[in-house]
């Protein structure tokens, strides 16, 4: 990697490259708003898609929760939407499972990967490194549209006659591979699932390609790697993880697809009798799917959460008014987590019948990965020490992020040990764990990012009062929803069950009911957020260029930035991203692109 602070070497084809880089304003409605090449528009498109996806995913979770709390009570309106599987409003087990599968798939792929990574990353990574756009705007546009088509294909699974797939977001073979003999939803619906995820992989690979190249090659003058903001670092590391992870999931989906429609037997062993029919397959390995899936699946968890790490590390100092403690250590830990995430996939398979010795092998790196994660948390908490905290909504969500990440991370200690996993695997303990550490933490990262960057993206401020109510109620709500799931798990309450009505689990019903109330209320609280989002977009107070007195490049351009990000000005970077609590020209901070003496835009 060349140090970009050094003077520009003269390339033979520099003129051509500059011609290529020179941005022209987009022309026409389609180019401006639909098939836009502008990374900012693409980022917003990703975020809007994630918003639709999260609403769908949340409504699905309400339906599930309602059924779990009140298994015999008809859900109002369900009979009309799903006349066969929801006849009379009481959902059938297969409807429950299809809602669960779609909820998990939508949340993991189309919300937690798109919003914090593809959404915010697209909008802010180029600006934070001082580039005019991503390295390959056309690929970037394709990245979004391929992902979007993937989303539509997934939603189409709701509309096919046998319904949406019921094999969970993990789609374990052979259940997911043998076709409709295995049950409702496993026909066309499951095929659509495989196609959708394959498309998603292609979209995210194109995105990762852009993120990596842009970070390596398009940094502006003075923006050395060490001066990159933490959020840029997090997106950069995430895109490397994503590049590897999606490169593996894509072939896995191709193999699954061929097993389903091409008559091959990659994942289907011989001699299976399903619905009284001997299946015309032989020799495949169900564990092969599990290995491929989790080789992707565990890193995916970090794809969901690392951008949140970046956002917290980026936003917290701006409101603590002091730099992050141990910045290099922080980046090192994020990289270490990214690397280690490829060594632990087997911890999802302790009880899968793989060699028991490998369980020990996978358990060690899993426990080791807690060390960099612990360090990151300690660095954040240490950053709060001696701070001058400004309690904006964004800051609160960062602090909330730390709290829920700790809660979820600690339950990971249990599941990382095979000898305890043998009891807790497949119970609500796991559901509680991953919702805290991945679901809620990542959502808090998204919220923090939204409240922080909204002024830059739309040129208007969000309403802080509504925001604080949103935070406080959500924070209480998520603890009420997900903490009790750990108790259920300890009591042996298994997951992926559509009802707990018989003697075995009857004792858990009151707690399930409590969780359901909490989930419905917390869901309703999100309406505050949606209102805030829409109201502020059109009616919010006009945002200044740098409302938070922050330092990084996105705050050195107008809100919202022009199509080429900095207009005629080419930012030059003079310092690291974290100069808070110092004596600066306009307060206790110094901006990356403002030289010590002289105004904005003065070249070095």
């Amino acid at each position: 990697m060349a140090d970009s602070a050094s003077p520009s070497p003269v390339h033979r084809d520099t003129t051509e490259k500059l011609a290529q880089l020179k941005h022209l304003p987009p022309e026409g409605f389609l180019r401006t708003h639909v098939f836009s090449l502008d990374h900012k528009v693409i980022g917003k498109q990703y975020l809007d898609m994630a918003l639709v996806a999260v609403i769908v995913g949340m409504v699905l979770s309400w339906l599930m929760r309602f059924h779990l709390g009140f298994p015999e009570t008809p859900v109002p309106g369900l009979g009309t939407i799903a006349p066969s599987s929801g006849a009379g409003g009481v959902m059938t087990p297969e409807l429950y499972l299809s809602l669960m599968t779609m909820h998990g798939t939508i949340m993991v792929f189309f919300v937690l990967t798109t919003a914090p990574f593809a959404g915010f990353g697209n909008f802010f990574l180029p600006i934070q490194v001082g580039a005019e756009d991503m390295a390959f705007p056309r690929f970037n546009m394709m990245s979004f549209w391929v992902t979007f088509v993937g989303f539509l294909v997934l939603l189409a699974a709701f509309l096919v006659p046998e319904g949406a797939p019921i094999s969970g977001w993990t789609a374990y073979a052979p259940l997911s591979a043998v076709g409709k003999d295995a049950g409702p939803g496993l026909g066309l619906g499951q095929t659509l699932w495989a196609v959708s995820i394959a498309l998603f992989c292609v979209g995210q690979l194109l995105g990762s390609l852009n993120f990596i190249t842009t970070t390596l090659d398009l940094r502006t003058k003075g923006m050395s790697l060490a001066r990159m903001p933490f959020s840029t670092w997090a997106w950069f590391i995430t895109s490397i993880i994503g590049l590897i992870a999606f490169s593996v999931l894509l072939p896995a989906c191709v193999l699954l697809f061929l097993d389903r429609v091409g008559g091959t037997s990659f994942f289907i062993p011989a001699g299976l009798v399903i619905s009284d029919r001997l299946q015309p397959h032989s020799g495949g390995s169900p564990l092969l799917w599990q290995h491929l899936f989790w080789f992707f699946g565990h890193p995916e968890v970090y794809i969901a959460i690392l951008p949140g790490f970046g956002i917290v590390s980026h936003v917290l100092p701006a409101f603590a008014r002091k730099p992050v403690l141990g910045p290099r250590l922080l980046i090192g830990c994020m990289a270490a987590i990214g690397f280690l995430s490829y060594t632990v996939w087997g911890h999802h398979m302790f009880l899968s019948g793989m060699n028991p010795f490998s369980a020990t092998l996978f358990s060690v790196p899993t426990l080791v990965i807690t060390i960099p994660a612990t360090i990151v948390v300690l660095l954040w908490i240490g950053t709060l020490y001696g701070a001058r905290l400004r309690f904006t909504t964004a800051a609160l969500f960062c602090i909330g992020f730390i709290s829920v990440f700790v809660s979820g991370g600690i339950s990971g200690f249990f599941l990382a040990q095979p000898s305890i996993d043998t009891y807790l695997h497949g119970t609500y303990f796991v559901v509680g764990h991953f919702h805290f550490v991945m679901g809620v933490a990542a959502m808090f990262g998204i919220f923090a990012g939204t409240y922080f960057w909204f002024p830059k993206m739309y040129g208007r401020m969000m309403n802080e009062t509504l925001g604080k109510w949103h935070f406080v109620l959500t924070f209480i709500g998520v603890y009420c929803i997900f903490m009790p799931m750990h108790y259920l798990g300890l009591a042996g309450n298994v997951r992926r069950y559509s009802a707990f009505t018989d003697e075995y689990m009857k004792g858990s019903l009151p707690l399930h009911r409590f969780i359901t109330y909490a989930a419905l209320v917390t869901g309703a609280v999100q309406i505050l957020f949606f209102i805030n989002l829409f109201w502020s977009r059109f009616r919010g107070a006009v945002a200044p260029e740098n409302p938070w007195e922050a330092t990084t490049l996105e705050w050195s351009t107008s809100s919202p930035p022009p199509f080429d990000n900095f207009g005629t000005w080419h930012p030059v970077v003079y310092r690291g991203p974290d100069e808070y609590g110092v004596e600066g020209p306009s307060g206790d901070f110094r901006m990356q692109a403002v030289p010590d003496r002289g105004g904005k835009g003065a070249p070095a």
Partner: protein
């Protein structure tokens, strides 16, 4: 426009191709390990002789790499786009010829009664050759794009896309050699 322009220290399209190469390599590593696992999973692996046509195809693909390299040198030598374009056309033709050859090899295999669903070995054969051909066709599209660039740029200007595409094309060739090797060993 102001004086300070963004500093370009290396070519994004080249970096991009390297990143793409990493991703594709990872995908084929996944396919390969699936193949190894699948072969070990059950005693139903059918060994068969690779269609001899594959070796001719290999020669064609290597030749296309050579002509493309020639094209790149020509363009870089300052002889102008006109001198490079015939070589580019030759490479595209050879590339397409390779794909046609692969299709003929499929027909050869099908004539022996080996289809996608016949057994795991034939399944991997069709799968790997098809996925490789898709990547190669992607390269052809890129070469056609480069053609347009060459026609449009003035003399003495080498589009950076050319260097990047040549790199990608060589990679696809090397990838094919690798695939041929494991197919020859395993099938």
């Amino acid at each position: 426009m102001s004086t300070a322009n963004p500093v370009i220290t290396s070519s994004p399209s080249r970096t991009g191709v390297w990143v793409g190469i990493a991703a594709i390599t990872m995908s084929f590593a996944a396919f390969t390990s699936a193949m190894v696992v699948r072969q070990g999973a059950a005693p139903d692996w059918l060994h068969f002789r690779l269609p001899p046509l594959l070796y001719l195809n290999t020669v064609i693909l290597l030749a296309s790499s050579a002509t493309l390299e020639r094209c790149r040198r020509r363009a870089a030598s300052g002889a102008g786009p006109a001198a490079a374009i015939p070589w580019l056309a030759a490479s595209i033709t050879l590339g397409l010829l390779f794909v046609v050859g692969q299709a003929l090899a499929w027909r050869d295999l099908a004539a022996q009664g080996l289809y996608l669903a016949t057994g795991p070995s034939s399944a991997f054969f069709y799968l790997l050759t098809a996925v490789h051909a898709i990547h190669l066709l992607g390269g052809v599209v890129a070469l056609i794009y480069v053609w347009f660039r060459l026609v449009r740029t003035e003399a003495n200007n080498v589009p950076s896309a050319l260097g990047a595409t040549v790199l990608y094309w060589h990679f696809v060739g090397v990838l094919w050699l690798y695939l041929l090797l494991i197919l020859a060993i395993r099938l």
